[in-house]
């Protein structure tokens, strides 16, 4: 079971690296989902080792929040694409135009 702890922090850090390095918004959101997956796994592992059920419930709430985040983020990307015809962060310099 202890290997999963390393897996979860690896997933978190890989997602962080991707979020920093990627240039298009959809890939950045994908990497954010990867980070969320790592954190949820860590919650479950803590729940198994301490016996607290609260950590498992936190995973349920994490799932709900990540679903909301992805839905709003993707609709923002669609709105941006309609306005500017781009999904790259380099091309977005002025936020109000």
């Amino acid at each position: 079971m202890s290997i999963y702890y390393y897996l979860s922090i690896f997933l978190f850090c890989l997602g962080l690296l991707g979020t920093i390095l990627k240039k298009d918004l959809i890939s950045m959101l994908l990497c954010l989902e990867l980070m969320m997956g790592g954190v949820a796994l860590l919650f479950i592992l803590f729940s198994k080792s301490t016996g607290f059920l609260d950590a498992q419930l936190m995973v349920v709430f994490t799932l709900i929040v990540s679903a909301c985040e992805v839905a709003v983020g993707l609709s923002l990307i669609i709105a941006l694409y309609r306005k500017k015809q781009t999904i790259y962060t380099d091309d977005i310099k002025i936020i109000t135009e």
Binding site: M1, Y4, C13, L21, G37, S49, L63
Partner: protein
């Protein structure tokens, strides 16, 4: 133990494909596979309900939502061949490696206490009793949050359309 290593290996391979694949569609399907293998890990750890929820919500809904948005946006126009910033790459890799090192050190120092398996009441009944008593208010707030997210999505997506029609 062999199952642990196998599942970890599968998850790591697909997670690396999410970050390092050139095509965004491949990255989205790799994310789907990563989430499914995480669900398998949940199942192996004995949290069956969360495993099912992970498959339904994360793998079934969110990953497919990504694919739908990619179909709405014409991804053929976007190739990932933009110029890469060398300094940014080095600094980001260094920072992430430092964070990874610190977290691994923290885990490594406490691995004996962390790898104990506490056989408390892990049943679904206990989970839901807690959810509908202690965590009742956060649960209701989560439903309100979901409703707000639905409204926000509709408003944001249709706002861009109106602006387009005016032009």
């Amino acid at each position: 133990m062999a199952a642990d290593i196998l599942l970890t290996f599968i998850t790591v391979v697909f997670a690396l494909m999410v970050v390092f694949s050139k095509r965004t569609v491949v990255a989205a399907f790799s994310l789907l596979m990563t989430l499914l293998s995480i669900a398998m890990i949940y199942f192996q750890l004995g949290t069956v309900f969360l495993s099912a929820v992970q498959v339904l919500i994360n793998a079934g809904a969110i990953a497919i939502l990504f694919v739908f948005v990619m179909m709405l946006i014409n991804l053929e126009n976007f190739t990932n061949n933009r110029e890469k910033n060398k300094t940014k790459l080095i600094i980001a890799t260094f920072t992430v490696l430092v964070i990874l090192g610190v977290l691994a050190l923290v885990i490594n120092n406490n691995i004996e206490t962390l790898s104990l398996v506490n056989l408390a009441d892990n049943s679904m009944k206990a989970l839901f009793e807690k959810l509908f008593t202690t965590y009742y208010l956060p649960f209701e707030m989560a439903t309100v949050l979901l409703l707000a997210a639905i409204v926000a999505c509709v408003v944001i997506a249709s706002h861009g359309k109106k602006a387009e029609e005016k032009q």
